[in-house]
């Protein structure tokens, strides 16, 4: 399976990663090899096998609807790069987000 330079750009953009040209070239090759390797799984006949999303044999791990102590606002704000009046401050966002 091959992957184009355009795909590398697209994935890097989605992941908010900036790459040098050298890195792009290396990733183009690496990603193609990874995809080829994983594609081997397609050779296995899975027609009678239930899809697996988790490898642990665990199900239904719930908690009861009870409150537990939250962090102190000061502690939360301590790890924020910028803050003001108890809020975390981020670069200005004007547009609505493309999601609900």
């Amino acid at each position: 399976m091959s992957i184009s330079r355009k795909d590398v750009h697209y994935i890097a953009k989605l992941a908010r990663v900036s790459l040098t040209e050298t890195e792009e070239a290396r990733l183009e090759k690496d990603l193609a090899e990874i995809l080829d390797y994983v594609a081997k799984l397609n050779q296995v006949d899975t027609s009678n096998i239930e899809p697996t999303t988790h490898v642990l044999s665990l199900e239904n791990i719930f908690r009861t609807d009870e409150n537990r102590p939250s962090l102190q606002p000061a502690e939360v704000l301590r790890i924020a790069p910028k803050k003001s009046d108890g809020f975390v401050v981020v670069p200005l966002v004007i547009e609505g987000k493309g999601d609900a």
Partner: protein, 527 residues
């Protein structure tokens, strides 16, 4: 628990006969008959279009703690005071599902006639935005809580069935406030609050029908007690997909996705704006592009969201931190049995059992607590219609004037029942009872005590009324002459005068009877 506040008012719009929903086939035909005179603001030319709408509703589930951690979901707390490593997405933290949120989601799925997934799982939806600290939202992709189902909306001419696509659980994002040049502020208190997203099929065919759908859905959610549905606090939010097409066309037109509508009215108005915008563009030979648009309430327009021209690619994948959730048929049955009576069922029952009009039943049913109050009063009072009139009239006025729910009003069903019985046994006139109502609410006392305290008691003793009747006849010679010369209406005026003289305390039927008797004597004398 979320703080309770009075929601949008008691009218169940679905059942309000003054507001017609989407145009049914029949309705459309009726409109077509009068086409020349039909003034529809959406139709600026003879070209026919069909409107296709699908809604995505996000409802905050009423739980004490967040979806995956123990932080409080209380609205209005100090910013960033209800967060922890799990909802902030700090390294090393692990989410654990809130059982109550899961059960409430199943409850809604069942009430909407959906099929509950035997195995549900969670997935990561990846995107970058400052209100989403993990850079992914835990949501559900291919195995949601419920799939399929439907919702009946509208009333007159029979309900319209809108199919439901799915209902899935996800976590809410934080709250972003744009304050200007300095940057945007983020409050993460809301991050991780349980949301149920309910997606409809594109079965809705007008903005009005969309509003009816929302109103019906809200009523169901309130009856199930799974959410407070408070739009001002963001507990119920709605996005809409809308397109128009030529009738008979199989394919959907180019759609707009509308956001930022903060009330049912805003949803309706935004959709109306968008319908006419689509029609205008098409009629002018223009081309629509698929885009997300934001409703601007102040200017009453939708505007394209300024966003980069890249398709959303959320790269969903299974959430490895949450194992699958399997629900047994026994548990599904148990939750189903807890649904209780839903608004539409109650509406039908009120019409048959109490012989109420669709309108009265609709007003009562629009408020679950009010409909229960009604039934409690009816257990002690013989005429349900009278109870309905009192609740939809004076009691509702008091609720509105005081901005209180029926529970907050503090009026006990037993107290109202007793008051109405005092009308039945002629101790009070209807007018007197209405005058007493505010005092009854304020004092919380027994109605009889309030009546005594106010010195209000209907005068049903002929001996006490006769002198007043005589006096009224003496003072209103002209009206007496009018009556004697055949003007029946003059009698009503005289009864009114007796009521006035007694400060409303006279039993009107008795006053009427005594006046007739006295006038008959006069008539006899005149002859």
């Amino acid at each position: 628990m979320r703080m309770k506040r009075r929601s949008e008012g008691p009218f169940y719009r679905i059942y309000n006969k003054h507001e017609r929903g989407g145009r049914s086939e029949e309705g459309r035909r009726k409109l077509d008959v009068g086409r020349e005179t039909w003034d529809d603001p959406l139709r600026e030319s003879a070209m026919e279009y069909e409107t296709v709408i699908g809604l995505e509703v996000h409802v905050q589930l009423l739980t004490r703690s967040k979806l995956f951690c123990g932080c409080s979901t209380l609205f209005g707390a100090q910013p960033n005071s209800q967060t922890c490593p799990v909802c902030l997405g700090l390294p090393g933290s692990l989410p654990v599902l809130n059982r109550e949120a899961f059960r409430k989601a199943v409850k809604v799925g069942l009430a909407l006639h959906g099929e509950i997934s035997q195995v549900a799982k969670f997935d990561r939806k990846n995107y970058f935005y400052p209100d989403l600290p993990k850079n992914y939202q835990i949501s559900q992709y291919d195995l949601p809580i419920a799939r399929g189902g439907w919702l009946d909306v509208g009333f007159e001419g029979g309900p319209k069935r809108v199919r439901i696509t799915r209902a899935h659980l996800e976590e809410d994002a934080g709250k972003l406030m744009h304050v200007g040049k300095g940057g945007s502020r983020v409050d993460f208190n809301r991050t991780g609050t349980p949301l149920l997203e309910i997606v409809s099929e594109p079965d809705i065919s007008s903005p009005q029908e969309a509003a009816l759908y929302l109103s019906e859905l809200k009523a169901i959610l309130l009856y199930l007690e799974v959410s407070d549905c408070n739009m001002e606090e963001g507990s119920l939010r709605c996005d809409a997909n809308i397109s128009v097409r030529r009738p008979g066309s199989k394919e959907l037109g180019v759609k707009s996705e509308l956001k930022n509508m903060n009330s049912f009215k805003a949803v309706e108005r935004a959709l109306e704006f968008e319908v006419s915008r689509h029609r205008r563009v098409l009629e002018e030979g223009g081309r629509l592009i698929q885009e997300t648009r934001l409703w601007d309430e102040r200017q009453a327009v939708t505007q394209p969201m300024r966003s980069k021209e890249e398709a959303h690619d959320y790269r969903y994948f299974p959430e490895p931190d949450l194992v699958p959730f399997r629900i047994s048929q026994a548990e599904v049955d148990e939750i189903r049995s807890s649904l209780g009576e839903l608004p539409r069922e109650r509406l039908n029952r009120f019409q048959t059992e109490y012989e109420l009009s669709a309108y009265d039943a609709g007003v009562l049913v629009s408020d679950k607590a009010l409909s229960e109050f009604f039934e409690a009063v009816c257990r002690a009072v013989p005429r349900p219609k009278q109870v309905a009139n009192w609740l939809t009239g004076p009691v509702l006025s008091e609720m509105n004037a005081r901005h209180k729910t029926i529970r907050e009003l503090g009026l006990k069903p037993e107290a109202l029942a007793k008051l109405l019985m005092r009308i039945e046994d002629r101790t009070l006139t209807n007018t007197m009872a209405k005058e007493i109502l505010p005092a009854l609410i304020d004092s919380g006392k027994d109605p009889d005590e309030v009546v005594r305290g106010k010195g209000l008691k209907q005068v049903s003793d002929a001996g006490a009324l006769e002198p007043v009747v005589e006096q009224v006849i003496r003072k209103n010679g002209q009206s007496v002459q009018d009556f004697l010369s055949g003007k029946e209406r003059a009698l009503g005026f005289l009864v009114g005068q007796v009521m006035k003289e007694t400060g409303g305390k006279a039993n009107p039927a008795l006053a009427h009877q005594l006046l007739l008797k006295a006038l008959a004597v006069k008539k006899g004398g005149a002859l």
